[in-house]
């Protein structure tokens, strides 16, 4: 397969892993910020391959995990309304709100549909002019352009039955929040390649400068990740906090300017709550006033819904690498993948879920 198989070559991967292990004079704590990278790392066993040389800390980059409980509750309230078709990416359906998830709403008669693009939701809106069609617009900078396009199109086509429940979050502010945490253990970051393919990587220079922390733009295939980690370890060993781009085939300095233009037309920067972390100033996007009519929170008056995160959950500390999942009092007791209390146990990519599924595996070394 063009552009995929080349980046999954086992021989090259082992060669890179050897180099990383030989270069590292100590174990470095590197955080990957993107959930897609976490998935690929766990899926390919990269973390175990590099044990001793690199500790991968799984950052708050899974949009499913960091969507705040309050917003899920709003989604559930909207999806439960009889004239609503609620459209979402598949993995949001299992994320629990305070009392239930979207699967339950669907089972109780709600019209909840899995779509693969917000433009599909737009199509559903055109076909069902007597129903309200709501798209759950979550994600980082990566999914934002398509969501912006859907809202933009809806406005152009005057689709009055379409709206979006928006919870967009941004990578640079959360890196900043993590670095500002007094107990921060993270020594370097792998920046999310797909976020950078949209936004470019110019935004990361100030972070490198201010926090003296290496950041390497990294892709998602095993060889991409190993190359990103290899470069990071070299920077750490040399004591040179720099920005490097290890995903040149997709990421440029400026990023996708057409997308950025549309994004700034539709969205404006806003404070956002992150599940398990709390509010981070200027860490997300909301719809601009010109698109207020397409804002589901406005249309369905759910802004009075207020939900507190469970106090037992320490996922914020886990996301910052300060607490191992199994050190949390709720881990494996009140909090399991079937009944998750917080962000990191929700998605299979979350650190707690990964730990729950994989960490109890004691004899893994025996299969090397």
């Amino acid at each position: 397969m063009k552009y995929l198989d080349e980046f999954r070559d086992g021989e090259l991967a082992r060669h890179l892993a050897r180099e990383i292990r030989q270069t590292a004079t100590r174990q470095w704590a590197i955080m990957e910020v993107c959930g897609g990278q976490t998935h690929s790392i766990v899926r390919n066993g990269l973390d175990r391959l590099l044990e001793g040389a690199v500790e991968m800390i799984h950052g708050p980059g899974c949009p499913v995990c960091v969507t705040p409980l309050e917003l899920i509750d709003k989604a559930l309230a909207i999806a439960s309304q009889p004239d609503v078709i609620f459209c979402s990416f598949g993995d949001m359906l299992r994320v629990p709100g305070s009392t239930k998830d979207l699967f339950r709403v669907k089972a109780e008669g709600g019209d909840v549909r899995v779509v693969y693009s917000p433009l599909d939701a737009l199509q559903i809106a055109r076909q069902n002019s007597d129903r309200q069609v709501v798209f759950f617009g979550i994600g980082f900078e990566t999914t934002a352009p398509a969501n912006a396009m859907a809202v933009h199109q809806a406005k152009l086509q005057d689709l009055s039955n379409f709206s979006m429940l928006v919870s967009h979050v941004l990578v640079p502010p959360v890196i900043e929040a993590i670095m500002n945490s007094p107990a921060c253990r993270v020594q370097a970051f792998l920046a999310a390649g797909h976020v950078c393919s949209v936004m470019g990587y110019w935004q990361y220079y100030p972070l490198v400068e201010r926090y003296q922390v290496p950041i390497v733009i990294t892709g998602f295939e095993p060889l991409d990740l190993l190359e990103g980690i290899r470069r990071t370890v070299h920077l750490l060993e040399a004591g040179t906090p720099q920005l490097e781009n290890a995903y040149e085939r997709a990421v440029s300095f400026e990023g996708n300017q057409t997308a950025q233009k549309l994004l700034s037309q539709v969205f404006e920067v806003a404070d956002r709550s992150w599940r398990g972390i709390g509010e981070i100033p200027r860490s997300g996007w909301k719809l601009r006033d010109a698109y207020r009519n397409f804002d589901a929170e406005h249309r369905f008056s759910v802004s009075e819904i207020r939900t507190q995160e469970p106090t037992l959950c320490h996922s914020g500390e886990v996301l910052q690498g300060n607490l191992k999942p199994n050190e949390c009092p709720g881990f494996g007791n009140e909090c399991t993948p079937r009944h998750p209390l917080g962000a990191t146990m929700v998605s299979t990519e979350g650190a707690c879920a990964a730990y729950y599924n994989y960490g109890r595996f004691v004899a893994l070394d025996s299969i090397r």
Partner: protein, 354 residues
């Protein structure tokens, strides 16, 4: 999409011909004339055998020698017709395969239909035709059946339940609790074909190539393996939940660990590409014409060769081993030399956002 064959109305001699009703009405499930017509014109001609044609309340069968295997499964797939097959193929092959996985020779099936008011008769006839053809291929008889009709909006066109009876020879002991450390894990072909075939049509995704379901009856393949019987410890057909679920269940039931070698898993390039696109893992994607065998290492190579000679086992491959360590769990050596656990999924696999 498969072609729909219309019932041949011109051959019908019924005083109240079905041509008056091109689609299912509530009366077709009422037990009266309309029900009889459905049986006479659609079911009996397709499934034709003396037991069925006796039209008794129950089918009377002579008990075969050996032990009986008995299995039931319901089929609610959407869409009803998909690349490579239909609900009719699944309904026969699925139950035939469930019987086969205990080493049974499948003999008889029942077929229960729940039809939704308004369901086109031409679709029903096409489904029944595919069932008859699948039953002929598998060498089983559909000897009893039932039809119910539910009101419009209370069903999804057509649901089918099939139950099956097979016979197991006394020297065959295939059991999901029989995997032992040192055993070898073999799959009979490429994984994930059926699930991705369904995804590609159900979700309205437009792939450049057509992925076909692998639906097939595996009793012939199993029969060819039975000479290895004492060394054939476990057989499973990895349907819902895919290979990962079957192997997790075997690991739990046999209290052993299983280690897959991901490099050796046969996956069609199109299926792999579709999985990558949707963020899915082929080990969790359903199959409808594959089996996984856990066999004594003594016969592993011979079983593999035997499978590869069969039309439903051409792409068979040795994919893993059974270990004493990490009992109850499935692990994998990844293609790049790492290791991972493949846990049991909580529900069905969902496409990921990132």
């Amino acid at each position: 999409m498969s072609t729909l064959t219309k019932p041949d109305f011109t051959q019908w001699s019924c005083p109240l011909p079905l041509r008056d009703y091109p689609s299912i009405v509530l009366g077709h499930g009422g037990g009266g004339q309309l029900t009889s017509e459905l049986i006479e014109h659609i079911f009996v001609p397709a499934f034709r055998n003396t037991t069925l044609e006796a039209m008794a309340d129950s089918s009377v069968l002579a008990p075969p020698a050996g032990r009986l295997a008995f299995s039931t499964d319901s089929y609610v797939v959407q869409p009803l017709f998909f690349p490579g097959g239909s609900i009719g193929d699944l309904a026969v092959n699925g139950t035939v395969n469930d019987l086969s996985m205990s080493g049974a020779t499948p003999l008889y099936l029942s077929a229960g239909f729940i039809l939704e008011e308004g369901f086109p008769l031409s679709h029903l006839a096409a489904i029944v035709d595919r069932m008859a053809s699948a039953a002929r291929t598998a060498g089983v008889q559909i000897v009893t059946g039932d039809t119910k009709v539910v009101e419009k909006g209370h069903g999804d066109g057509c649901y089918i339940n099939t139950s099956g009876i097979g016979v197991i020879s006394n020297d065959v002991h295939i059991d999901p609790a029989r995997a032992r450390p040192g055993d070898v894990v073999i799959v009979s072909g490429t994984i994930g074909d059926h699930g991705m075939a369904i995804m590609s049509v159900r979700e309205g995704l437009e792939f450049e190539t057509v992925i076909e379901s692998d639906t097939a009856a595996l009793n012939g393949l199993v029969a060819s393996l039975l000479p290895f019987a004492p060394h054939l410890h476990v057989l499973r057909d990895p349907t819902r939940g895919g290979l990962a679920s079957s192997l997790n269940e075997i690991a739990a039931q046999s209290r052993v660990g299983i280690v897959l070698d991901e490099c050796s898993l046969p996956v069609l390039p199109d299926v792999q590409a579709a999985c990558d696109l949707l963020g899915m893992d082929p080990v969790y994607v359903p199959n409808e014409g594959k089996l996984v065998a856990v066999v004594d290492p003594l016969v592993a190579e011979s079983v593999l060769v035997q499978m590869q000679e069969h039309e439903h086992g051409r792409n068979a491959a040795i994919v893993g081993t059974v270990t004493e360590q990490h009992a109850g769990m499935l692990a994998a050596r990844t293609a790049i030399g790492g290791t991972r656990i493949i846990p049991q999924q909580i529900g069905e696999q969902l496409p990921r956002i990132c």
